[in-house]
């Protein structure tokens, strides 16, 4: 079941491959025959009207749901049905549409939770608090501080995460996800609720993530200015199907996409199969 997507004669398999995935809840189809691929270091956008299945796709990628049918390969390994923490361990991290920070922990501790899965010291070492434990805690503290100051959150390191302004909460979620050292970062509507200045900052932040951390990004976003401005490739989802994919310019001119967004003609949208 090899994917028909064009490869640039590169021996490297793509970072993420989704092959013919379906997700059904009883009689309702959330995703129908979705296929997509993301290469290492790529910045890919995922757009679509409300209810198109963007978050459902995120959820099958990250293991919150298991796809009813189909195959997901992350770095060549099948991940369908794996629990979320193991998928994260393979190098996929995400943020959430409705911010999910750890409310009782301060900003620094929120970032620190991302290091738990990779701790060298176990339970007994933690209770004993030996030298190796203290060294590791120190390393984590430093790395967390570095990440926070890189994203301009160091001034708030000891604040409660709930007390942060909205834009900072979104940024903290991104920092927390990045702290797990992902190869692929999934951002679920990071610009939601941000003002124009914050959106501009977000755009440069996402580009920086890519250049400096070498992380591929899959970005779900409603704000076309953000998506069109920074993504190299786009996938358009509508009613659980991939309606179109291509460069921002191609997508902008695609009549099916326009129809889906403007709701002009349902017949086109519904019959729209995957367009390469």
């Amino acid at each position: 079941m090899s994917s028909p997507a064009p490869s640039h004669a590169s021996p490297l398999a793509s970072l993420l491959e989704v092959n013919h995935c379906f997700l059904r809840f009883g009689g309702i189809s959330a995703l129908t025959d979705v296929s997509l691929r993301i290469n290492a270091g790529e910045l890919v956008g995922l757009i679509g009207p409300n209810g198109a299945g963007k978050t459902s796709l995120f959820n099958i990628l990250t293991g919150v749901y298991r796809p009813t049918e189909g195959e997901i390969l992350f770095q060549g390994r099948p991940t369908a049905g794996m629990p979320p923490h193991r998928i994260n361990g393979l190098g996929m991290a995400r943020t959430f549409q409705n911010i999910r920070l750890f409310g009782s922990l301060d900003v620094r501790m929120n970032v620190r939770t991302s290091f738990i899965a990779r701790l060298r010291n176990g339970l007994l070492d933690t209770v004993r608090r030996g030298r190796s434990f203290r060294r590791e805690e120190g390393e984590i503290h430093e790395e967390g501080t570095r990440l926070l100051s890189y994203f301009g959150l160091d001034h708030a390191a000891s604040h409660s995460s709930r007390s942060l302004p909205y834009g900072d909460q979104r940024r903290l979620e991104i920092v927390r996800a990045l702290a797990t050292k992902p190869r692929l970062l999934l951002l679920d509507e990071p610009a939601a609720g941000m003002n124009p200045t914050e959106k501009e900052e977000l755009k440069s932040l996402i580009s920086r993530i890519r250049t400096e951390f070498g992380t591929a990004v899959l970005l779900v976003e409603h704000d076309m200015k953000v998506v069109m401005g920074i993504c190299e490739r786009l996938y358009v989802l509508d009613q659980g199907r991939v309606l179109a994919s291509g460069t921002p310019a191609e997508i902008r001119g695609n009549p099916k996409v326009i129809a889906a967004y403007l709701g002009e003609s349902h017949s086109i949208a519904r019959h729209g199969k995957e367009v390469a």
């Binding site: 923490h85 999910r100 009782s104 939770t113 701790l119």
Partner: protein
């Protein structure tokens, strides 16, 4: 100015001090063990009644602080803490009453003898291990459940243990076991509670320990950050059960008599009250609450039939004003005022 004041106010009342700095709590452990030794060496001057109250307070501290890891830190509602205590109590009573006398010369087998004191440590550990095995058995399958369902399973488990004990003749059935050696003394009880408190505080104030709180705050986000949520929940449950088992062993060898009724649902509930009053997720507050409730129980003995009325009333007032929850941060900020103490950084 106002915002600064309000920050101070909030940090006194509810906000965890931003400076949950990773100080080594070993100093506190050494102090706790020191107190245990001093109390034990002064035990001749402490009257038996006060001794017993201190023993109960220390045992309740162990129970409440260990349940706090499950309920307060990890956010799992467990209603069977007394059952784990029962497992520890019966295990240890069987060991000291039936097993060890066969292995050791009988003459040395009294509560205060060196041999029994020496053998009490392994007995405590075995009691804890057996109780934590019970924790694995209950927690393994049921911690995949959430909230109400977990509460129901643990409630059921508590009852199963009680009924099992009631119908097992080896442990005396519903008559219970009597004549248990009074090995528990101030050293063991206070020492174990210091050790429990140390374990819990050092566990929680570490990167590893933040995993428990992450699971409590948001399981989905925790899993997405690579945290094995089920494993963290089971770990909390098993550690909690271990210390409950130790507390049970201490209890059995302090009161010299145990029966299944002593470990019923109400006992579990009493521990839950301590955890809630102490402020879920605040080990020091929970320990203070455990001591206060033990003392309250004693003070109210004289009221005979009005006892439960007053008890309930005080609990309600406690719930409204939550004094213990405020006490721990106050102590911490007092410590900051001491000369030589490094001043905690405050928010801008």
């Amino acid at each position: 100015m106002i915002s600064h004041n309000s920050y101070v106010f909030r940090s006194l009342i509810s906000l965890r001090p931003a400076t949950a700095r990773m100080k080594n709590p070993r100093v506190a452990l050494a102090a706790g063990l020191g107190v245990a030794v001093v109390l034990q060496s002064c035990s001749g001057w402490i009257d038996p009644y006060s001794t017993q109250v201190i023993l109960f307070a220390a045992i309740n501290v162990i129970l409440a602080v260990s349940l706090n890891l499950v309920m307060g830190e990890t956010g799992q509602f467990s209603l069977c803490h007394a059952a784990f205590m029962a497992v520890g109590a019966y295990t240890s009573a069987l060991l000291t009453g039936r097993v060890l006398p066969f292995l050791l010369p009988h003459s040395s087998w009294t509560g205060t003898s060196v041999a029994s004191q020496f053998w009490f440590l392994p007995v405590l550990i075995v009691a804890g291990v057996v109780a934590s095995l019970a924790g694995v058995i209950v927690g393994g399958p049921s911690l995949r459940l959430r909230g109400d369902y977990l509460a129901m399973v643990t409630l059921g488990f508590g009852e199963i243990i009680r009924v099992l004990l009631q119908n097992t003749d080896v442990v005396g059935g519903s008559r219970g076991m009597e004549g248990i050696l009074p090995v528990t003394n101030l050293f063991w009880a206070v020492g174990c509670s210091a050790l429990t408190l140390y374990t819990m505080i050092s566990l929680v104030r570490s990167t590893y320990g933040r995993g428990f709180q992450a699971v409590r705050d948001d399981e989905i986000a925790a899993a997405a950050m690579g945290i094995d949520t089920t494993r963290f929940k089971v770990t909390a449950f098993v550690i909690g059960a271990f210390f409950a088992g130790v507390a049970g062993a201490l209890y059995a060898h302090a009161v010299e008599f145990i029966s299944p009724e002593g470990f019923n649902f109400l006992r579990s509930f009493e521990i839950i009250v301590m955890v809630i009053l102490g402020g879920l997720g605040r080990p020091v507050g929970v320990a203070i609450a455990a001591v206060l409730i033990t003392l309250l129980n004693e003070w109210l003995r004289d009221l005979s039939q009005y006892r439960m009325v007053v008890y309930a009333l005080i609990i309600i007032l406690f719930m409204i004003f939550r004094p213990t929850e405020r006490l721990a941060p106050c102590l911490r900020s007092l410590r900051g005022l001491l000369p030589g103490a490094k001043k905690a950084p405050t928010a801008p």
